[in-house]
Symmetry: C2
DNA sequence: CTGAAAGCGCTTACAG
DNA sequence: CTGAAAGCGCTTACAG
């Protein structure tokens, strides 16, 4: 590909001058600007972003560290939002093949070695060594669903607490009192916030908290299935269950049906996320909507603001959640009585 | 971050020598190698990939141009395979924010400006200007589901033709003779291959081809829903329908049920792709499995081979497909009789 | 075995 | 308004 030297030669000027017209410096005569522009056109010249980055220190690249499969619908929607926001920004997105389990590996070094302008992190534990190092590095960073912050690090998350609260209230209004919570991984911020919201909801409806109604899981279909099987073996099984994710809810429903019971006839089920499939599933899933696409878009907008302005305060944004009522919840009618 | 100069100073050697130990040149004395290694350790130095790339011409970056939403399960699985294959290769993946509709924009320039070592293209029309330019550029390229090739460009795809053929045979064995094809976009290679397989299947079972049984669509849920509604209005509606994708099949089933008919009682439905949801759907979907994850892995392996060896012949690989029989197909029993 | 020098493709003071 | 020169962080012949 033609280099800036080729253009300079073609136009009969110096490379410095070519550089100035590329970068829209005002102090270039109209005449030489024309000459240079013609040469650029003729040679189909495009500046090499890499070389430019070496001197300006900017790569026009945003890195992403996502430690969750792309096949996870939540991840897919997030990436779609990120992609949308990036579209005409001039930035490209780089997925880093991070070897987080290799003690020799440093995520920060990886980012610096690639000159990344900013980075988004999703699905990595807040107190992972790499994350601490990242925060201290001063690389503009946005965390998703992790309440980490730093001088140049902000985060964004859904209002998980209120989401779970709404689920409980909805079920309580339908007459449910035995409401289980099929949870995520203990310690995960998302899980803890929703657990808090669940307890808020119980309290608001004067329903006592029962430890045996809490099942830990890992957000997957399978963990929903397994957890529900255990709940069904309780002396007093729940009449409703709130799930940490829609995928887990699908597993829960499958377990209930396998057990010969019906959703929502015997047991009501609420999901979390409102993934595309929630609507197609039978019964269509009552769930908490997260504006994941919006989160993806906003997170990039904020990140770019941080990149462009060193004084931009690291944002902490909470995106509202909402209850979507479909077919998987109904009036409580105690089964087996 | 520490540069090679810092390391050289710390170790008391030249930058050339540091470079040699980094790159495992043999002609360095054990003693200075030690000194340098210590300095590297001390300063936590990592070579700057960008700067290195400027001189070696390699960026250790693979670009990806995907013109389909990440939320498409097929895309997600493909990316997951790509990710897996990239994991310990030293390459990172860059998603290019390509402005394909901007006439000023050149995809090849974009790749060159970023020094990409190779690129994978999915979901872009074969005769898009950018694609032609790309093939001619000599940048190592792998196309997915597009039969483009070039001096440095190969492709990979599922055996679509045989997949569709198997679907028809399966339905014919169940006694179906009125088999519709809810197709994709006319002109798309994937669509044409499957249409050919569909006709192969009809022929093998001596079923005449009926033009009114072909419905074009765009692979989406909605196009399945709309297409099926039209098929149901035919004087002689089909008793079975083969779909271009699982998502379209879900739409088809929804249309059938909305019409008051049952799947598979009244009409059998076969999908294509075998996405994760196919198994969870009710009725669980009979479909053609594509080894999408494997395609993602192989495609990167081939691409890296092409990158590393200029003489590596551009591969054209066809991944086998297979029929997965579930609950959405059953013996033909003509309804409305 | 070691290092000085040129160069990858750019930008940025600075001198004229 | 224009351009020579230094430099971003590396690698690679080449001389010693």
């Amino acid at each position: 590909m033609a280099s800036i030297h080729d253009v300079a030669k073609e136009a009969g000027v110096s490379v410095a001058t070519v550089s100035k017209v590329i970068n829209h410096y005002p102090d270039v005569s109209e005449k030489t600007r024309k000459k240079v522009k013609n040469a650029i056109e003729l040679l189909r010249y495009r500046p090499n972003v890499i070389a430019r980055g070496l001197v300006t220190g900017r790569s026009w690249t945003v890195g992403v560290l996502i430690n969750i499969p792309f096949t996870n619908p939540y991840v897919a929607m997030l990436l779609e939002g990120i992609k949308t926001a990036l579209e005409n920004s001039g930035y490209d997105l780089m997925r880093l093949s991070a070897r987080l389990n290799d003690p020799e590996y440093s995520f920060v070094n990886h980012c610096q070695s690639r000159n990344l302008d900013g980075v988004v992190v999703f699905g990595v534990d807040k107190d992972h060594l790499s994350i601490q190092e990242l925060i201290e590095s001063g690389i503009p960073t946005m965390f998703v669903d992790t309440d980490a912050t730093g001088l140049r690090a902000g985060n964004i998350t859904t209002d998980n607490r209120n989401g779970a609260h709404m689920s409980v209230r909805h079920l309580a209004q339908l007459g449910h009192r035995r409401i289980a919570y099929l949870a995520g991984t203990p310690g995960h911020e998302v899980n803890e916030s929703r657990l808090a919201g669940y307890r808020d909801g119980l309290e608001a409806s004067s329903i006592p908290y029962r430890k045996e109604y809490i099942m830990s899981g890992d957000y997957s279909y399978d963990s929903g299935f397994q957890g529900m099987k255990m709940l069904l073996e309780l002396d007093e099984p729940p009449t409703a269950v709130i799930c940490i994710s829609d995928m887990a809810a699908f597993g829960v429903i499958h377990a209930i049906e396998t057990h010969g019971l019906n959703v929502p006839g015997d047991i009501s089920v609420v999901g979390f996320d409102n993934i595309y499939e929630a609507e197609l599933f039978k019964p269509a899933l009552t769930t908490i909507n997260q504006n994941i696409h919006t989160i993806g878009v906003k997170l990039i907008e904020e990140l770019i603001s941080m990149i462009k302005n060193p004084d931009y305060p690291p944002p902490v944004v909470t995106e509202p959640s909402s209850l979507i009522i479909r077919e998987s919840t109904a009036k409580c009618r105690e089964f087996g009585e």
